[in-house]
Every structure is written in C-alpha cells, then in structure tokens.
Amino acid sequence: MAAINRDDVAHLARLAHIEMSAEELDRMAGELAVIVESVKSVSEAAGDDVPATSHPIPLSNVFREDVVGHTFTADQALSGAPDSDENRFKVPAILDEA
C-alpha cells in the first residue's frame, strides 16, 4: 500500500465530515503513515498459503429464522434524538436550493 499523504488525509476528512486544521492534517498524515506501516507487518507474517479474510473466525452461513422479535416504541426510538417532530427524527435541511 502506498504511503498515506496529506492529500489523502484531507480527502478522508472531507468524506468523514471532520474539520481539520492544517497542523492536524500534517500531524495525522504522519501518524496514519506509521499505523499503515505497522498493519503492513501483518501481511508480511502471513504466507501465500493464508487466504485473505474479513473475519477472524472461519465461520459462514450464520443465519436467523425469519421470525419477528422485539421492537422499540416510537418514544424509545426517539429518546436519544437531539430533536424530533411527529414521532420522527428531525434533521437539518440536507441540500441547499439547487
């Protein structure tokens, strides 16, 4: 994997909706580069005979029967919402007038 540079960090920050100052971008580019390097050592440990995986335990087909379980009431669902209206989550306008 190529090294993480400052532009990558700025791009990721924008995608993740995180505001970062110039100094933070510089610092994070350095820190992330170290992390990426460290993780890379795992790839070196695994030989060609170890297949890539997305899960640490070799399981597959973990399913649930299609049976209705528990639900929240609207009040419970909305109990952690910063704002609500008509039993629904209220969120700021998302797009400006096009």
């Binding site: 791009h11 924008r14 995608l15 993740a16 909706h17 997305s54 899960h55 335990i57 399981l59 597959s60 087909n61 973990v62 399913f63 649930r64 029967e65 299609d66 049976v67 209705v68 379980g69 528990h70 639900t71 929240f72 009431t73 609207a74 669902a77 909305l78 209206d85 008509e86 039993n87 629904r88 989550f89 209220k90 969120v91 700021p92 306008a93 998302i94 797009l95 400006d96 007038e97 096009a98």
Partner: protein, 502 residues
C-alpha cells in the same frame, strides 16, 4: 428553473443510438428485516418497526435473515444467473440521515447472483434479450420527508423528518449490463423490462411487487452515441422512476434531452436526474463527485454466505413456472389467438382473466368482460384494471344472469356500473334497479296487443306474409317494456298471435 432543451424523439433517433441500463430495487416481503428481527411492514406508525440494530446503536450486531437469502437466490435463479459459491456483505459508507449507521450494508464485489439474462417480449411479440450483470443483497434506507421550503422537495427544505421503519428492509438490487440495439424501442423496452422483473418477483412470491408502494423501484440510465460509434456516451441516471408508465416516459424524455445537449456541442453531464411525473420531465440532481467515494470494505460483523449447491438446487426446484412459459400455457388453455392474447397481456389483465376463469367463467366470457368493459372503464378512471374493484365472482355472476336470460347484455353493463358504484351484488342491483328481463308472457302479450292495435297496417302486412315488417311491432313492445323484454321471445309471440310461420 428553466426547462431543458429537447429534440423530438424522431430527430433524436435519426442522429443517435441510445444505450440503456437499469438498476431495479426489489423490496422482499420477508416478515422481518435483513439484519434485525424487527417487522418488515409497510404503513405502520413512524419509528415503531425498529430496534437497536435498525437504529445503528453502538455495539449491536446484525444477523442475516435466512429467508431473505433464499428469496435472493430465487430471484437470481429466475433471472438465469449463476449463484455465488461464496459471497460477503460490504459496508457502503456515506453520510445521509436515511441511514443511522452512516453506512449501508450492501454487497460490493461479491454479489450473490451474477451473469444472467431476461428475455423481454415487446408488444408486437419481438423478443429482446437483456443481460443481467448482477443481483445483490442490501438493506433499504429510512424514509425522509422534507418539510418547509416551497415545494416539499429536497431543495429548499427547512428540515427533514426521518422514519426508520423502512431502514433495514431486505432489498435485492438487479443491475443490467448496458443494453444496446434497442433503437427507437428503448422506451418501450424499458417499461417491458421493469414489468418483467416485477412479474417475476411477484410470481416467485418474494415481494409484494407494488410499485406504488416502492416495492419495486427503478433507476434508469440513458446515454446516446452517434450511430456507428462503439464507445458509449456519457450517461445520466434518473432516480426512483416508480411506475411502469413513468419508466417509459423517463427514458423517452432523457433520450430527447441528451440529443439536444449533444446537438449543441456540449458534453452530457454525468449526474443524477430527478423524475417529475407532473411535467414528465427530469431535473438535475447532483453531479457525480468525490463525495461518491463510498470506501466499500467487507462487513466485519457478518460472516460469508456460502450457499451449498444442494441448497441452490432445492430452491431451484421450488421455482414456479417462468412467466413466459406460463403465458404460452395460458394462451393454449384459453384458446385465444395471438393477437387476442397479446392485447390481454398489454392491457395487464392476464392475472385477472385467469382468476375469473378459475372462479367459473368461460375463457371467452372472461375476455369479453375484462377487455370489452373493464379495461376501458379503468382507463377512464386512470387506474390499473385490476385496481378498479371488479371481483372475478362479479363477472361470473353477471355472465350467469345473462346466460339464464334474466338480463340481457345491455343491462349487464348497467349492472356492472352499479357494482362499481358500490350498490351491491349483481343480483341485488338487478332487483333494485328493476332490470330483469320480462319473461312472463302475460305482460308481453298485453304489450303485443297494444302494439298491434297501434299499427294495424303493419299487422296486416305480417298477416299477408311480410314477416320482415315484424321489426316495427317488436320495437313497439321493447319500447313499452323499456327494453326489458327478450326480443326473441317477443317475436315468437307475435308470430303465434298472428298465426304466421316465422
């Protein structure tokens, strides 16, 4: 917002060759959601069909719905796809309030079904093969209602309200390969393709398949290229075109709009377009940007789905007869000509006719009522014929009343109107409106005497052998009985009265 320039469809076709592509989202009708045990029910009170998984609370774990996997495999098989030996879910990361997790659990490079095709029959019987790239599993998002602003649309809204009842409902997204060679039939093909997908998932019983409820939703991609050029043009993606008619109109419109853009020498902008049913036009959504970097990665909270070949074959064995084969069988059973059957299919009443026949009507009676009476009334009411409210039993009853000579055909259509107006069953309406054919000879004989007395010269002609003059007398009787007499019987009685052989 100024309207976009368009060319006429004919001119666009003269200059350019359209290439289409569709993403059709099918909501499965499982009892529960894709990854949570909350109920998958349409139309309930907001935010009551949710639990911690649907709301993306910290530390929760999704668990895959087995029935949703089976439904997805069935859809893949019905689309002639290969079923993956192993596949995984992936996170599609984006920030938007329709998903409380900030990602949608979907499939990325490992769809459960891939490399299929669907043979689409156009209205004149032409078969057009649409190749299927993939069908993958994912979850639906919550429903946003944009409040305030001028239009209730997303642009200019003051705030939005979110209902997560739909969040996590199982979806299968069916993606075509680029569809080339449709030419001027592109709009028709678009409609027929979406109709075919809808028919398949309905037939499989894996979706309620109601487009008006968003069970089947279509994103339509359109691009144009000059005739003879291999390379595709830049495409637009018209989102959420949610009726069959709208699919046809949206493709028609986008072809005309693209043609005008290309004619002006400008490049087409690769963007999302919003469909507006009222004006039958699209408007610009947002251009593709680096905000569309979804950073897919394998979902670490779910393990791979590995459908054994035995399981796949078991599911294949449960598949119902494919729609095309079913159509062939029904046409043969019913004895309709190719043209008659195609009209039935195009009018969208094949299922209704089948149900009517199953309820006891003959094939010709079922066709006569649906095609002759109901389709036209549905068109006037601007609804699908099946939605008009005519039950198969109603038609069977009407046909029986006619057959038994209780009412004639003209009265039967009146009775049908009465049924549609909610006046009751056909028998009740016949009674209430006093529509029964007069079959008791007593009142008829009185009316005949009166008619003969009123037209003595005609009576003499008939006595003299000019039987064809009888029409005037029959007419008089029908008038006197307000059309409720059986004309054939009246004729017999007149001849008997005058002692003339018919």
């Amino acid at each position: 917002m100024s309207a976009d320039a368009t060319l006429s469809f004919e001119e666009a076709m003269e200059k350019y060759d359209p290439v289409l592509g569709f993403e059709v989202h099918v909501e499965l009708n499982t009892k529960t959601k894709m990854f949570s045990s909350a109920p998958n029910v349409f139309g309930d009170e907001p935010n009551t069909n949710v639990n911690e998984v649907d709301l993306g609370m910290p530390g929760v774990l999704p668990v895959v719905n087995k029935t949703a996997i089976e439904s997805s495999i069935k859809i893949g098989l019905a689309l002639n796809c290969k079923i993956a030996e192993s596949c995984r879910f992936a996170r599609k990361n984006y920030f938007y309030p329709d998903t409380p997790k900030n990602f949608q659990t979907s499939q990325y490079d490992e769809p459960i079904a891939y490399d299929g095709y669907l043979d689409i029959e156009l209205s004149d019987g032409t078969i057009f093969r649409v190749e299927i790239e993939r069908a993958h599993m994912e979850e639906d998002a919550g429903k946003l209602t944009h409040m305030g602003g001028a239009t209730g649309r997303i642009q200019g809204a003051d705030f939005s309200l979110v209902d997560y009842n739909r969040a996590g409902v199982p979806l299968v997204e069916i993606v075509t390969k680029p569809i080339q060679g449709a030419g001027s039939r592109a709009p028709e093909l678009a409609k027929a393709y979406v109709a075919a997908v809808r028919e398949i998932v309905k037939n499989l019983g894996v979706s309620d398949a109601k487009m008006e409820r968003g069970n089947v939703r279509c994103d339509a991609n359109v691009s144009l290229r000059p005739h003879g050029r291999e390379r595709f043009g830049i495409r637009s993606e018209t989102k959420n075109v949610n009726s069959l008619r709208a699919v046809e109109h949206a493709v028609h419109y986008e072809i005309r709009r693209h043609a005008a853009v290309l004619d002006s020498g400008e490049p087409v902008v690769q963007e999302t377009r919003h469909w507006h049913e009222d004006t039958r036009t699209t408007t610009s959504g947002r251009a593709k940007s680096d905000a569309d970097d979804y950073r897919y990665f394998p979902e670490p909270d779910l393990v791979p789905v590995v459908p054994s070949r035995e399981w796949v074959e078991e599911l294949r064995a449960t598949l119902p007869e494919p729609p095309a084969a079913r159509r062939k069988r029904l046409q043969a059973d019913w004895g309709y000509s190719d043209l008659e059957f195609r009209d039935v299919v195009n009018a969208g009443v094949m299922d209704e006719i089948q149900e009517t026949i199953a309820a006891g009507a003959s094939a010709s009676v079922a066709r006569k009522w649906w095609m002759g009476e109901i389709v036209g009334r549905a068109k006037n009411a601007d609804v699908d014929p099946g939605q008009l409210g005519v039950q198969p039993a109603t038609i069977v009853e009407l046909a029986k009343l006619v057959e038994d000579g209780k009412i004639n055909n003209k009265m039967a259509t009146e009775v049908l109107d009465g049924v549609l107006a909610g006046e009751g069953t056909p028998a009740e309406i016949v009674e209430k409106r006093g529509l029964a054919v007069v079959s008791d000879d007593g009142p008829l004989l009185e009316a005949i005497d009166a008619a003969l007395a009123a037209q003595p010269d005609v009576a003499d002609k008939i006595r003299g052998g000019k039987v064809q003059a009888i029409g005037a007398i029959v007419g008089g009787v029908m008038k006197a009985t307000r059309g409720q007499a059986d004309a054939g019987r009246v004729r017999e009685l007149i001849l008997a009265k005058l002692g003339v052989e018919g």
